[in-house]
Symmetry: C2
Subunit: 215 residues, 2 copies
Amino acid sequence: MRRALVLLSGGIDSTTLLHYVKKTLRREVYAISFNYGQRHSRELEMAKWQAKEVGVVEHRIVDISFLKDLAVSALLDEKAQLPSWEEAQQGTPSTYVPNRNMILLSIAISYAESRRIPEIYYGAQRQDYSGYWDTRPEFIEAMNRVLKLNPDFQIQIIAPFVNYRKADIVRLGLKLGVNYEMTWSCYRGGDEPCGVCPSCVDREKAFKEVGLHVK
Amino acid sequence: MRRALVLLSGGIDSTTLLHYVKKTLRREVYAISFNYGQRHSRELEMAKWQAKEVGVVEHRIVDISFLKDLAVSALLDEKAQLPSWEEAQQGTPSTYVPNRNMILLSIAISYAESRRIPEIYYGAQRQDYSGYWDTRPEFIEAMNRVLKLNPDFQIQIIAPFVNYRKADIVRLGLKLGVNYEMTWSCYRGGDEPCGVCPSCVDREKAFKEVGLHVK
């Protein structure tokens, strides 16, 4: 069975991806998650639950909390005000963490190369394009061109949902039996989702579109 | 004055680069170093000394010790045998840390973007080509193609020594007044350089070629 590594945040996109890679693509699945001092660390608990649910070979959680001191972002700064959903639609939102996704991918690549895993699955999707340059198809292609230069082991970053909207992803996930109660989207770190941050609003819109009643 | 960030390990190449960027290019210099559980953590003390010596605006040391658990490499594993200089000349040596340089660069990019620093200086040089794919000009070009996609802030990775041999770098450094006693090359973590690891041998060869008598 071909090995694959999934970048798993514990949100809707990467959780659905995890189930898709395991159940549809039938890969031998490894998962990697990151603790980077994000406000919403509850998503890591969800990631752990989901990794166990699909039965991964290994789930690594990597501490990159240095990012909080190093990078400027409303996502990492507890005192910063989060943007509204409307504000988040214009250009790069203040929740963007500079170059975060290249950091996450580069660490995942190191792990994959060490374990001889040739495929890395990345849950980038279409709705994030407008705001986050590092979720676009061009970004993924350019990263893959870097990886082609490695003479010893070839790894490919694959983003099957890159042209999906969030509702499309949820539709697929429901077919795959994903339990969305065990995912977390809210940018805030509370016990309950805040319901007003851009990520909560996107989640609610997607669930509403497919007629799903989950928080 | 234009800002520039230097990746500073405390070895010969990056230390010379630091002095070059400050004294020849006359940039406002920031430095970034990494603690990744390498055997030779003494190089970090040298990095600190050199950063102070040239007067950087800020020197950040980032803890990425997660790498030790995640990646397979003789450089990170205290029990592994280091290769001889001869062994290290054939293909990728066992001291290669999978995708390490992309990790270091991606973190540097995050910091540079947060601080609005448009240039990142990287001490890649020609003698490492044979072994380390992530020091080659093609690698740097491909990384820069990724960075061109960032719509908000343009950063360029610059490797002025990419076609230099180590002896060329030392020659330049001597003109710039670099104190090579305050650099560290040995892969081992002892009080004195071991004199036999590939990095010690490369250092000695370069110093001998330019007639420099330093350990």
